[in-house]
Amino acid sequence: MWFLITAALGLITIFPVAWMVSSAFKPNAEQYSFILLPENPTFGNFEHVFSALPFARYMLNSFFVSAVVTIVALFFHSMAAYALARLRFPGREFLFLAIFSTFLVSLPVILVPLFILARELNMLNSYVGLIVPAIFNAFGIFLLRQFYIGIPRELEEAAILDGAGYWRIYTNIIIPLSKPVLSALAVFFFLANWNSFLWPLTITTDSDKWVVQIAITSFQAQYSASQNYIMAASVVVAMPTMLLFLFFQRQLVESIKTSGFK
């Protein structure tokens, strides 16, 4: 019985998404129809999305930015987490606390000074400006540190006895062991960056640097009378994240679960 209730609630929950997908295939005349499935399904909306605006370019922008941020962030955060979890040095706990406290600093709070800072550093309206500030966030450091604390020390101790330097330990032992966490975080970071809106909105002015989230807001302003086009654009923008979710649901959920433990 619980299954029926849960399934019913689940279907209600995903109904809007289903509605979005089906509306993307409806021709203009059917955009407000009451039935779920289109009577005359068409790919025309998608054709229009890619021809009216250089959406392929914007998808590439989003992909490029998200991928670079993800790779660099994983690299930096795993290094920092390793140091915080394994290396002993004065002020370690204080440093960790300081990093942890940046959780209270969310983008809207620092948006204005960050924008002014980016302007001073000549990062406005550039890929550098899109990528670099997005890398630095304590979440990944925190999660990886949790993970590294849990790794048994024997492997590293054996390597130290063999005379290995810290960099070698990091690359030959720590990194291979962290593959599950790193892949979970990779999915999480990529998703978060693909869906990021406020910072790209603030730092980009040239339309050739638009990420898809910005492009679609411009698109919908132009075609507000044709919801079928807007829904098709929405499907295009949301498809990569939905596919990632389909294939990597487990990883995504794992990274959220582990973040809940202090």
């Binding site: 609630l9 002993r88 004065p90 969310s106 809207p108």
Partner: protein, 301 residues
């Protein structure tokens, strides 16, 4: 194995640590730390778009409390927080309890509730805007078929904020469900078995075993949802896409008003002052949370 001359093992470790930490620490200082400090001090200046700074002391703060739009925005934000945090807590917990059970296709079921969360807020805003169109949107068409008068859910100042809250919960509930699922799985089944043997009824079990043992997770959920409600990106994104603060400022949450003042009107100093006030609010709220739960540490005896 050659050793660095003059450096002990301990100092080599310090050097290694410094090098490992360098990129992130520099990045965090430059892109989070400095802006945070700047944000606090910028509130005491009047800045225009051309980069001229004029020190104005507490003028911005005085202006704030005489600004009816700011006060309205404060009211809106408070309602938003007071409704959203409990709503997320209850929905997340309810869903987790529901989906903790051994149901068929459990992975698929859990996935359905999490799906909204992977979609960008921009798309969600556009999708719901489409569904809520006044007469021809699917929501109103459906409601009129079951006998409820169609309303302008986004256009009526009385309904707009509530509508926004419903959409926000829909978007976020999967995330909190996962957090609670993780917390529930930490509770040893022996407790439940013992309760069942004692003949405890579901409500008693929930009240005496589940809730107390869920305290760390509850604390984390309340903390994260409070921060998200006050200063989170989802507040901004949805308002920007769907209502731009309207109608009649009914959805003008503080982060949106700050953005407006800074980037629409160019009052950077004023916006920074409001942002500082928002941080203060956040610190007070989280401080209350810490005090009420005694620092988030829980002993189980």
């Amino acid at each position: 194995m050659p050793r660095h001359r003059g450096m002990s093992r301990k100092h080599r470790e310090w050097l290694a640590a410094a090098l490992f930490l360098l990129p992130d620490v520099i990045g965090l200082i430059v892109f989070l730390g400095i802006p945070m400090v700047l944000s606090l001090s910028l509130g005491f200046f009047e800045v225009d778009g051309f980069g001229t700074y004029a020190f104005v002391g507490f003028d911005n703060y005085q202006k704030m409390f005489n600004d009816p739009l700011f006060l309205k925005s404060l009211r809106v934000t408070l309602i938003y927080v007071v409704v959203l945090v409990p709503a997320l807590y209850c929905t997340g917990l309810a869903l987790a309890l529901l989906l903790k059970q051994d149901l068929p296709f459990i992975g698929l079921l859990r996935g359905m509730f999490f799906l909204p969360h992977v979609i960008s807020l921009v798309v969600i805003g556009l999708l719901w805007k489409f569904m809520l169109i006044d007469r021809v949107g699917i929501v109103n068409k459906f409601l009129s078929r079951i006998g409820i008068d169609p309303q302008s859910w986004l256009g009526n100042p009385d309904y707009a904020l509530g509508t926004l809250l419903v959409i926000t919960v829909w978007f976020l509930m999967g995330y909190y469900m996962v957090l609670f699922l993780a917390g529930l799985q930490e509770i040893p089944t022996e407790y439940y078995d013992a309760a069942r043997i004692d003949g405890a009824r579901p409500w008693q079990t929930f009240r005496d075993i589940t809730l107390p043992l869920l305290k760390p997770t509850s604390f984390f959920v309340l903390l994260v949802s409070t921060v998200a409600a006050v200063a989170g990106a989802q507040g901004f994104d949805l308002v920007y896409i769907m209502t731009k603060g309207g109608p009649a400022n009914a959805t003008s949450v503080l982060i949106f008003y700050i953005y407006q003042q800074a980037f629409q009107f160019g009052h950077y100093g004023y916006a920074a002052a409001m942002a500082s006030f928002m941080v203060l609010m956040l610190l007070i709220l989280t401080g209350i949370l810490f005090v009420v739960t005694k620092g988030g540490r829980f002993d189980f005896d």
